[in-house]
């Protein structure tokens, strides 16, 4: 308990924001893009992705849940007995989320 400066508020903040996005927005998108569009209930309006606010929205929709996964997965592995390699696990999980964020941003920029 030495009170050292820590990035944990950042990772937890991203985790909780990602949880909100995953709980409230992702199900809607599963219904729209996974069910309604393929079944023809809604038109496949690809041109909507040209709008910047839509791209920003998609970036948030994709990136934030990655941090939710990273945080939860890392703690789940720790709790299952990998507490000793907590640090490398954190680097791996948050690193994967960061990489996913960069890839999502790159793809959305090139749409």
């Amino acid at each position: 308990m030495n009170g050292r400066k820590t990035l944990e508020p950042l990772w937890w903040g991203l985790f909780s924001a990602g949880g909100v996005v995953a709980a409230f927005l992702v199900p809607i998108h599963i219904v729209i893009t996974g069910i309604a569009v393929p079944l023809g209930w809604l038109p496949d309006a690809q041109e909507i992705y040209r709008h910047w606010p839509v791209r920003l929205y998609l970036f948030i929709l994709i990136a934030l849940p990655l941090y939710h996964w990273a945080h939860r997965f890392q703690f789940a592995l720790s709790d299952m007995g990998m507490r000793g390699i907590h640090k490398p696990l954190a680097v791996l999980c948050y690193g994967a989320a960061l990489l996913g964020t960069v890839i999502a941003g790159w793809i959305l920029l090139r749409l």
Partner: protein
């Protein structure tokens, strides 16, 4: 009053005579209104005076008689034998703590943690006695009263899987009590407590399993307190980034 007989399988551990804990069974005749603690007191007084356990008030106020009853952390003064009859009852010391003897656990680690969150009112400056007491509105009292019901019984520590894996975790009761003083309108100690509460071994170890709140006999809801400290600490962290001059 009709008397029935129930079996208590009690964990015994006398470090001077056995290397590992053993189980001793006692058949206890009991009236309908006996709780597990009554049965233990009966054993101590009438059957086997060597049995050791902590107890005091017999009414769910002192927090001394926490034990594992059939694997669940309970105040032994608050669980009736009749609710378990005719099955045997397994009585063990609280999980996740070192055992000193029989049902007596070593609570010194918990007491250190409790002290570390400074669960008392910290004032930047005390006003002189002549100015009278510190008044609080009913609303200011409501803000923290709920979290001030903790009796330090440690059932939440016995239920917490995170504390079970990492005994360094500050833990549910201590964090909830620290938060209770942060919420107190008379207190100025939030920044002082942040060092312990916001540490890696503080709130961030909690994965919100929520068992602490399930087993709490006083319905303190420490899990909620921990999540609220996380939100407050994350907010403070963001503020310290955008307004570094505003931090103490």
């Amino acid at each position: 009053m009709s008397e029935r007989t129930i079996t208590l399988d009690v964990t015994r551990y006398r470090p001077h005579q056995e290397a590992v804990p053993t189980v001793q069974s006692y058949a206890i005749p009991f009236p309908d209104d006996w709780v597990v603690l009554d049965a233990l007191n009966h054993i101590k007084d009438q059957v086997d005076g060597s049995l050791s356990y902590r107890w005091s008030c017999r009414m769910g106020v002192c927090g001394s008689c926490g034990m594992m009853v059939n694997g669940e952390p309970k105040l032994s003064c608050a669980v009736f034998l009749r609710d378990y009859f005719p099955r045997a009852i397994r009585v063990e010391p609280l999980s996740n703590f070192p055992v000193i003897r029989d049902l007596v656990i070593d609570m010194s680690g918990f007491l250190d943690k409790l002290k570390s969150v400074k669960p008392w009112i910290i004032r930047e400056q005390e006003k002189p006695l002549s100015e009278g007491e510190y008044l609080q509105s009913p609303r200011e009292l409501d803000a923290y009263q709920h979290f001030s019901q903790c009796i330090n019984c440690m059932l939440c520590y016995a239920a917490c899987p995170v504390f079970g894996l990492d005994s360094g975790f500050v833990g549910p009761a201590a964090i909830a009590l620290g938060y209770r003083y942060n919420l107190d309108s008379r207190d100025h100690g939030t920044a002082e407590r942040r060092e312990v509460l916001g540490d890696h071994e503080g709130i961030w170890q909690c994965t919100f399993v929520g068992e602490c709140s399930v087993v709490c006999p006083k319905h303190v809801d420490p899990a909620a307190a921990i999540q609220r400290v996380k939100v407050d600490t994350a907010k403070d962290w963001i503020l310290s980034l955008v307004m570094p001059w505003g931090q103490r």
